[in-house]
């Protein structure tokens, strides 16, 4: 049984389709990174999943059952926008969570407050955006959750604390927690997630295991002296999934035979030819600029 199960989730705001028949599963103990441009529907999907907004259609389950207040005893959610109480102090927020959660770990909370260098006497309105985010993260992890739904968890944080958050996510997953998180930091997702889903215009355009998605695909990049060059029928080669031309640069996304393709390009007398491993950023950019859905599990 998947910890998080989303089946044909659709959310419509009047004429606007925010999420379009999204189906996504997150297995127990796995870390799923949700990527997508702004307005892709990531936050809406999270809110539907947690019952903060009503979906237009679809079935949603956490640990095999619809979300109830009891679900939140073991689930921590970090919203995209900070929703802490500005007039309350950091300490009062910790006290609030202590009173609310049976499994709140005060020692862990202190540890996290120290980790993020938080002054517990300060009111939230006196904190920077990054510090306020850090408070929300500390609160989320202080209940030692089994499920974490994090919407842009490192938003506003400096690179050092971004790494800290990443470590917390990896540590939680190592301890058996299931994590679903969104981020614009593709490097973060690549480092922490074992599974990736990409949303575009509310639609799932790519989903799968990160290693499988990367697979053996490589990028063969050729830089020519002039704009006017012909790829010489490379586009029709079955080994080439996609060709992108940008001025004097040609990139061929190659499923197999990258060495042979590179040799073919060398014959066109470019200035240089290089072969790269595919990164998640390449996969993401390919997915959001390409309408065709793909699956890494195929």
């Amino acid at each position: 049984m998947n910890t998080i199960s989303i089946r044909n989730l659709t959310k419509r705001y009047g004429e606007q389709l925010a999420v379009d028949a999204l189906s996504l599963d997150v297995a127990p103990g796995s870390v799923c990174g949700l990527l997508g441009p702004n307005g892709a529907g990531k936050s809406t999907a999270f809110k539907c999943l947690l019952g903060l907004i009503r979906p237009t259609a679809g079935d949603l389950a956490i640990s095999g059952a619809p979300v109830t207040p009891a679900t939140f005893e073991t689930l921590a959610y970090l919203p995209e926008k900070n929703t802490l109480y500005e007039w309350m102090t950091v300490k009062e927020h910790f006290e609030l969570c202590r009173r609310t959660y049976a499994r709140f770990d005060a020692a862990r909370a202190s540890e996290l407050a120290a980790l993020f260098k938080l002054d517990s006497r300060k009111k939230i309105k006196r904190l920077s955006k990054g510090q306020a985010t850090a408070v929300a993260i500390a609160l989320a992890f202080a209940i030692r959750p089994e499920i974490l739904v994090l919407d842009e968890p490192s938003s506003g944080l400096d690179p050092i604390f971004q790494r800290t958050v990443l470590d917390l996510i990896i540590d939680a997953a190592a301890g058996g927690a299931t994590v679903l998180f969104s981020s614009h930091q593709i490097g973060q997702v690549e480092r922490a997630a074992d599974r990736v889903a990409v949303l575009r215009n509310g639609k799932l355009v790519l989903e799968g295991n990160l290693d499988t998605l990367k697979g053996d695909e490589k990028i063969v990049e050729a830089v020519f002296e002039m704009d006017a060059f012909s790829p010489n029928g490379l586009a029709s080669d079955p080994r080439v999934r996609r060709i992108v031309r940008n001025g004097r640069i040609l990139r061929a996304y190659v499923r197999s035979g990258s060495t042979e393709i590179a040799a073919e390009l060398e014959a066109l007398h470019p200035k240089s030819v290089s072969v790269y491993d595919l990164t998640l950023e390449d996969i993401f950019l390919g997915a959001v600029s390409d309408a065709a859905p793909a699956s890494g599990d195929a």
Binding site: L52, I53, P69, F72, L75, P79, T83, Y85, T100, Y101
Partner: protein, 287 residues
């Protein structure tokens, strides 16, 4: 999560208590200071009937010279009057309405924090009931605090013995508190489904409810207009609660002509219905 509302209500009550205590202390001090410096000048023509009270320091030097033998200190306790406790209840109810309107948008305030507040292991109904319970406790506390402070003030002024426990006082308290809670409930019902703008509703409610009172007397615009005003005033807490004093007895009257008993029933029923509507609306709000 009730802790949030506890902190919010505690803060509102603390400010309320400090301001009220300061006002009453200042008033008591002014009265006592005035009495301390006031003397009654006995007219040499008719000592029994003519009194001139001057409260300014150094007043003895003013006008026709009045020596110390012609002046005696005055005391409020010597005066022939009573302080009906109904008046104290009435003032306390009006002040409780102020706190009720401050707390009346507590559910609305949570909506902008929904991502935090609504993802906790507590149902929205239970959370709403907790919030409302805390707010009502604060309103009753504000009422009680005002009454106690009023009694303390009477003691300070040395006129506690003038307090009169008239029979209608309980009705004044019940209608006054009912009106405060009704106002609170109406604000909750009007704002619980909205993500923002609670403060605007509070301000508008004060303006609307006060404006609607004199409108009730306008009959020359026809029965339809008057009927509309009556209909609106049915939901106006102030239309159920007006203090009148007669022969040192303070009672409450309703603009709508209802008896105090009916006013108690209507205000508390509307308050309950409004709170239920607020909870229902809040349960459905999307954030």
């Amino acid at each position: 999560m009730g802790y949030v509302e506890y902190l919010r209500a505690r803060h509102a009550f603390t400010v309320f208590a400090i301001v009220l205590t300061a006002c009453i202390a200042f008033t008591d001090f002014s009265i006592l200071y005035g009495i301390h410096n006031a003397h009654v000048e006995h007219s040499s023509a008719n000592r029994d009937t003519t009194y001139t009270i001057s409260v300014a320091p150094g007043s003895k030097a003013h006008g026709k010279a009045a020596d110390d033998e012609d002046s005696v200190p005055i005391s409020l306790a010597d005066k022939d009057f009573t302080v009906p406790i109904g008046m104290l209840f009435g003032v306390a109810a009006y002040l409780a309405m102020v706190l009720a309107t401050i707390l009346g948008t507590s559910l609305n305030k949570e909506n902008s924090r929904g991502g935090f507040a609504f993802t906790k292991p507590i149902s929205r109904e239970r959370l709403a009931l907790t919030f409302i319970g805390i707010d009502l406790a604060a309103i009753v506390a504000a009422f009680s605090f005002t009454v106690l402070l009023g009694l303390a003030s009477l003691e300070v002024l040395g006129i506690f013995g003038k307090l009169a426990l008239e029979p209608g006082a309980a009705a004044v308290a019940a209608v006054g508190l009912g009106a405060a809670v009704m106002w609170y409930g109406l604000l909750q019902a009007a704002t619980s489904m909205r993500v923002a703008g609670g403060g605007l509703f509070v301000g508008l409610s004060w303006v609307l409810f006060f404006i609607m009172l004199p409108f009730y007397a306008i009959t020359f615009l026809g029965p339809i207009f008057h009927g509309l005003i009556v209909a609106i005033d049915f939901f106006n807490p102030l239309a159920y609660f007006a203090l009148v004093s007669h022969d040192d007895i303070v009672t409450t009257i309703s603009l709508l002509g209802f008896s105090p008993g009916t006013c108690i029933a209507i205000t508390w029923s509307l308050a309950t219905a409004a709170c239920i509507a607020a909870i229902y609306g809040w349960k459905r709000v999307e954030v």
